[in-house]
C-alpha cells in the first residue's frame, strides 16, 4: 500500500510535499534535463518583479561552512518575460508558484495583476524580505503592521493561493506570521535567508560586491526548524518549511515540526536530483513506519514532546 503523499495549501492540492525553493531553480528549465519535473509537488520560480532587474554586481556567491551566502539582487527578466517562461512549464501539469518581489506594495500588486489571468500560475509566494523603499529600505517582513497591510491589499487582487514568505531576520517571527494569517494569507513559507557576510582575510575586503548576502544551506537548518516549530504552534494555515533541507531525514524533521510541505534550495546545487530523491524518501519513510499518509506525521514531534 503506497502512502498518500498529497498535501493541501489553500485550494491547492500538491501530489507530494516537496518543491524547490525560489531562486534555486531558475524558471524550472535548468533542472528539466535531470528528471521529469512532474515528480515535484510544485515548481517555485525565481523572485519576479514588475520591471526587469539586472541584479547585483559579482561576486554574488561565496561558500561558507555547510552553506553559502548569496547576493543575487533579484536579477529577473521582469514579469512580462517571466510569464513566457512560466508558460513553458504547463506541460508538466504541476502547480507553479511564482515568488513575487518588489520595493513598494504597488510593485507586488502589479506583478500579481500581470499574472492573474495566466492559468499556469497556481499560487503566489510573496517575498517580504525585500527592502521597502517607502519605509526607508527596511524590509517589509520586519513589521507586522506593514505585512498585514501588504497582504490585505494583495488578497483583494487575487483568488489564487497566496503564500507569504517570512524573513528569519526578526525578533518575533510569530507576530509576523500571525499578521500574515489574519490579513488573509492561505499559507506561509519559511525561512528566507539569514543576513550574513564573508570577508577575505588575505585581500582584506568583503567577498561579496554587495557586502552582505543571504545565508542558506545545512548551516541554517536548526534556526529554520525552530521557526517552523514556533510558527506552526501559533497559526492554523499550512506552512512550507525550508532552510538547509538536503536529504530525506531533513525533510522529515520539518514535517514532524509542523510543516505541511517542504522546499529545497541550496541542496539543488550540490545534488540536482535532490527534490525527487527526497519525495521518494519520504514515501519510503512513511511505509517503513506504517503511516497511511504524509499528513499523519505533520507536527507529530509536538505530540511526542508533550508526553
Amino acid at each position: 500500500m503506497t502512502p498518500d503523499m498529497t498535501v493541501k495549501l489553500g485550494q491547492l492540492t500538491l501530489r507530494n510535499p516537496v518543491m524547490p525553493a525560489s531562486g534555486c531553480f531558475g524558471y524550472g528549465e535548468e533542472y528539466a534535463p535531470f528528471y521529469d519535473l512532474a515528480k515535484l509537488g510544485a515548481i517555485v520560480v525565481k523572485g519576479t518583479t514588475v520591471e526587469p532587474r539586472l541584479g547585483n554586481a559579482p561576486v554574488r556567491i561565496v561558500e561558507t561552512s555547510a552553506g553559502l551566502l548569496n547576493a543575487i539582487g533579484l536579477q529577473n527578466p521582469g514579469v512580462a518575460a517571466a510569464k513566457e517562461k512560466i508558460r513553458q512549464l504547463a506541460p508538466y501539469k504541476t502547480p507553479v508558484i511564482v515568488n513575487v518581489a518588489g520595493h513598494s506594495s504597488n510593485d507586488y500588486q502589479h506583478v500579481i495583476e500581470a499574472l492573474e489571468e495566466e492559468p499556469t500560475v497556481a499560487a503566489y509566494e510573496v517575498n517580504i524580505s525585500c527592502p521597502n523603499v517607502q519605509a526607508g529600505g527596511l524590509a517589509f517582513g520586519t513589521d507586522p503592521a506593514v505585512v498585514a497591510a501588504l497582504i490585505k491589499r494583495l488578497r483583494r487582487v487575487t483568488e489564487k493561493t497566496l503564500i507569504v514568505k517570512l524573513s528569519p531576520n526578526v525578533t518575533d517571527i510569530v507576530a509576523i506570521a500571525q499578521a500574515a494569517e489574519s490579513a488573509g494569507a492561505d499559507a506561509l513559507s519559511l525561512i528566507n535567508t539569514l543576513v550574513g557576510m564573508a570577508i577575505d582575510a588575505e585581500k582584506r575586503r568583503p567577498v561579496l560586491a554587495n557586502l552582505t548576502g543571504g545565508l542558506s544551506g545545512p548551516a541554517v537548518k536548526p534556526v529554520a526548524l525552530r521557526m517552523v516549530w514556533q510558527v506552526t504552534e501559533a497559526v492554523r494555515i499550512p506552512v512550507i518549511g525550508m532552510g538547509g533541507i538536503s536529504c530525506t531525514a531533513d525533510a522529515i524533521e520539518f514535517l514532524l515540526a509542523g510543516a505541511t510541505a517542504v522546499a529545497i534550495g541550496a541542496a539543488n546545487f550540490i545534488n540536482p536530483t535532490v527534490c525527487p530523491e527526497v519525495a521518494a524518501g519520504i514515501a519510503e519513510y512513511l511505509k517503513r513506519h506504517h503511516f497511511q499518509s504524509v499528513q499523519e506525521i505533520v507536527g507529530l514531534a509536538k505530540l511526542t514532546s508533550q508526553e
Binding site: G26, E30, Y31, S65, L68, G217
Partner: protein, 252 residues
C-alpha cells in the same frame, strides 16, 4: 544534456607537485571547452561541488586536470583509484570549431586544462594549429610533450625565463599574428585573456576565451556566476559560457 553520474577513478596521477590528472570511467559526453561539477566530499563542509574543465574525453572516459588550489581540490586529490566521485555534466558552451582559418591556441598556466581536448579535436579536424603555452615558471608548464604532440607548431614562454622564451606569451602571439590571421582560442588568467582579445581584435581575428567565476549550481539556475557582458547585461559563465566570443565579454 547534462546528467548526474557516479564515475569510477581509473587513473589519478601527479603531473607536477601542484597539478593532478584524474581519469574517470563512465558514460558521459563532452565537447572541448565544456566543464563538469565534481563532488569532492559527502560532508557539507566544503559544501559546493567544484567546477573543472574537461581536459580530455573519449567514449566512456573523462579526464580532468586540476591544480591544488585549496580544500576542495585537496580532498579530491586524496581519492584513490577504484573509488568513485559524483560528476554533474557536461556543462556550458564549448569552443566553436567551425572556422576556416588556421587555429592559434593560447594557454596560461592551469588554463591549459581544457585546451588539450581542444587541440586533439582541432588536430582530428585536420587544422593547422599553433599552441602558445605560457606560465609564470617552468613548474607550471605541465604535460609539455603531450601538448606539443598535438600542435603543428608549439611555443613556450615563462615570465621568469625558467623554460622557453622569457616574457609574456602574448608578446610571442603578436609576432605570429603579424604574419598570418587565425582563429584564436585562449584560457588562462583574465589579464592574459584580455591581452589576447585585444591583439585578436587588432588583427581582425576571431577570438574565443574560456572564463572562470565562483559557481554554485553550474546549470544556470542560481545566477551566482554572472559577469558583465559588453551589451550591458549579465551573462552566466556556467551556461552562457565558460567559452565566450571575446567581444561578448571584453570591451575594447
Amino acid at each position: 544534456m547534462p546528467e548526474k553520474i557516479e564515475m569510477e577513478i581509473i587513473k589519478h596521477q601527479a603531473v607536477s607537485p601542484e597539478v593532478r590528472r584524474l581519469t574517470l570511467a563512465g558514460e558521459i559526453t563532452a565537447q572541448p571547452g565544456q566543464f563538469v561539477q565534481v563532488g569532492v566530499t559527502t560532508s557539507y563542509d566544503p559544501f559546493l561541488k567544484r567546477p573543472l574543465s574537461v581536459h580530455d574525453w573519449r567514449a566512456g572516459e573523462l579526464t580532468l586536470l586540476y591544480r591544488l588550489a585549496g580544500r576542495g581540490t585537496c580532498l579530491l586529490s586524496a581519492k584513490k583509484v577504484g573509488e568513485s566521485v559524483t560528476v554533474v555534466g557536461p556543462l556550458g558552451q564549448g569552443f566553436p570549431l567551425g572556422g576556416q582559418r588556421p587555429a592559434i591556441v593560447v594557454a596560461g598556466g592551469i588554463g591549459a586544462a581544457p585546451l588539450f581536448f581542444l587541440l586533439r579535436s582541432l588536430q582530428a579536424a585536420g587544422k593547422e594549429v599553433t599552441f602558445f603555452y605560457g606560465a609564470r615558471s617552468a613548474a607550471e608548464l605541465v604535460l609539455r610533450e603531450q601538448f606539443q604532440a598535438l600542435a603543428t607548431s608549439y611555443v613556450e614562454a615563462t615570465d621568469d625565463g625558467s623554460l622557453g622564451r622569457k616574457g609574456l606569451v602574448t608578446d610571442l602571439l603578436q609576432a605570429a599574428l603579424l604574419t598570418d590571421k587565425a582563429d584564436i582560442y585562449a584560457c588562462g588568467p583574465e589579464p592574459m585573456l584580455r591581452a589576447v582579445a585585444k591583439l585578436a581584435a587588432g588583427y581582425q581575428c576571431r577570438c574565443y576565451v574560456s572564463l572562470e567565476a565562483q559557481m554554485a549550481c553550474g546549470v544556470g539556475a542560481c545566477l551566482g556566476c554572472v559577469i558583465p557582458s559588453t551589451n550591458g547585461t549579465y551573462v552566466r559563465v556556467c551556461v552562457d559560457g565558460p567559452v565566450f566570443a571575446a567581444e561578448e565579454v571584453f570591451a575594447e
